[in-house]
Amino acid sequence: MKLVINLLQALMLILGAPLVRGVISRVKARLQRRRGASIWRPYSDLFKLLRKEDLVPPTSSVVFRIAPALLLGATACVAAFVPVVWPIGLLASRGDLFLLVYFLAFGRFFLSLGAFDGGSAFGGMGASREALVSSLAETPFLLALTAIAILASHADISGMIGWTLQQSFFNISTVHILAFTSLAMVVLAETGRMPIDNPTTHLELTMIHEAMVLEYSGPSLALIEAASAVKLHAMLALLIGLFMPWGMASSYSGGELGLAFIFYAAKVAGLIFVLALIESGVAKLRMYLVPDFLGVASALSALAVIFTMLVKR
């Protein structure tokens, strides 16, 4: 029974990801006083891409061909770590917060390799930029998670969520606020949203993630798009689980699970709205300012870790 529910959680994350993407685009469009495309549009995009032909540059090697699959595989594993309605993920184990960070890094690594392998100039540019952003984002990511882990005295995500569930909402601690701010900035950087990267840009020189996938087409592109959507959804779910998990089910009853699902949907909707607001309201940072942005995130997360020692909460 536990297995079924965990499997359903992971599938919810994976299959619901394009929907999250679609809702974000729709909300952004509404904020910009446009009608916007339907929220199911990413699904039809994915199906369309799956039917198309997969064109491969003649100079590329096998890396180019397997990178999308590796990326999707790694991201799907990440989705399996993160709980949605039930405090324990499918692949939960001790120390899985490190696994989470490094599975994401693994996928990103192969995507960058594939971009290099594609042989286009923009692929190389995007990959090198992505390397900069992700190397700088790794520190705050790990430190913020570590800070919460120290507070919760658990090194696995499920344990941390379980601990947070027992805290009262009003005991806002400095550590949590700092870790949340830092993790939010990391989420923006990792998933390639504003102000780090504009996901809807068509100007190649301003791209980071999009530049890496310029050479891909057909099913490979579908896999990559799906992977980035799953990554976004998983990280949002991680934010919700670590900082606002109240409402998660505590027993196997269908009623509680249904209620937990509704709570989760509401929280995701809230986060989506905030994300859309940020994306519509902030200008993209120039590349040399991105290290400053992530440096602030690093400082905040380092402070969070230091505060776990000072604040006995």
Partner: protein, 220 residues
């Protein structure tokens, strides 16, 4: 009035967190208007804390002080800054001498220092450690802002943040000094700001810029 009591206790236990966040954001804000807004938010948090203290200690004087803080520091001073910025027609950039990353690390270190300082004196006075550490951190951050920001307006703002810290320390440890003295202190701050405003105009008129790091004619 159970709800008010709950709100009061929650405010008193968590206000220092928001003050820390405000000074961290002050370290990275790059436009004068953002800085002034953050100062306003910081003063609003302090006002809430003063009201909460007044409710808990049941002293009427503290309500008056809270009202003064609100009117002067949340409404008057930010508005005066905005008017001044517009009249001076100055560039919005803060002209910091440290990058945002460096500033945040420095402020983080200052926060750590203030906790260390409060640890040694915290036993002498029966004060919540977080609040006193927040006050000392405000003072240190105000000094840091005055030193590292090269615009005259930002030096004024650093001074105001420092005054916020001192006021908060006074409030937390002594629940306010005699009312007359508090009023006198506020009056002093207001007149001081007025004079500094006059001087910024004079600096702009004589030097054609507001960069105080270039005011180095007198040396030795």
């Amino acid at each position: 009035m159970g709800l008010v009591a709950i709100a009061t206790s929650k405010i008193l236990s968590s206000f220092s967190v928001f003050l820390f966040l405000s000074i961290l954001l002050l370290a990275v804000a790059r436009r004068i208007s953002t800085n002034v807004l953050l100062f306003g938010v910081q003063s609003a948090v302090i006002t809430a804390e003063v009201f909460a203290t007044g409710f808990q200690e049941k002293l009427a004087e503290i309500y008056v002080v809270a009202a003064m803080v609100f009117v002067i520091k949340v409404m008057l001073i930010p508005r005066a800054f905005f008017v001044l910025t517009k009249k001076l027609k100055t560039v919005h950039d803060v002209k910091a001498s440290t990058t945002p990353t460096q500033s945040v690390f420095i402020v983080a270190f200052l926060i750590y220092l203030s906790y260390a300082a409060v640890q040694s004196y915290g036993q002498e006075v029966r004060v919540p450690e977080d609040g006193l550490a927040a006050a000392v951190a405000l003072i240190l951050t105000g000094a840091f802002l005055m030193v590292s920001r090269r615009k005259a307006l930002m030096q004024m703002l650093g001074l105001l943040v420092m005054e916020n810290g001192i006021f908060l320390a006074a409030l937390l440890t002594t629940f306010g000094m005699p009312l007359v003295i508090e009023i006198g202190i506020f009056f002093d701050i207001l007149v001081g700001l007025l004079l500094m405003g006059i001087f910024t105009f004079r600096i702009r008129d004589t030097f054609d810029h507001l960069d105080v790091s270039k005011l180095r004619r007198l040396r030795g």
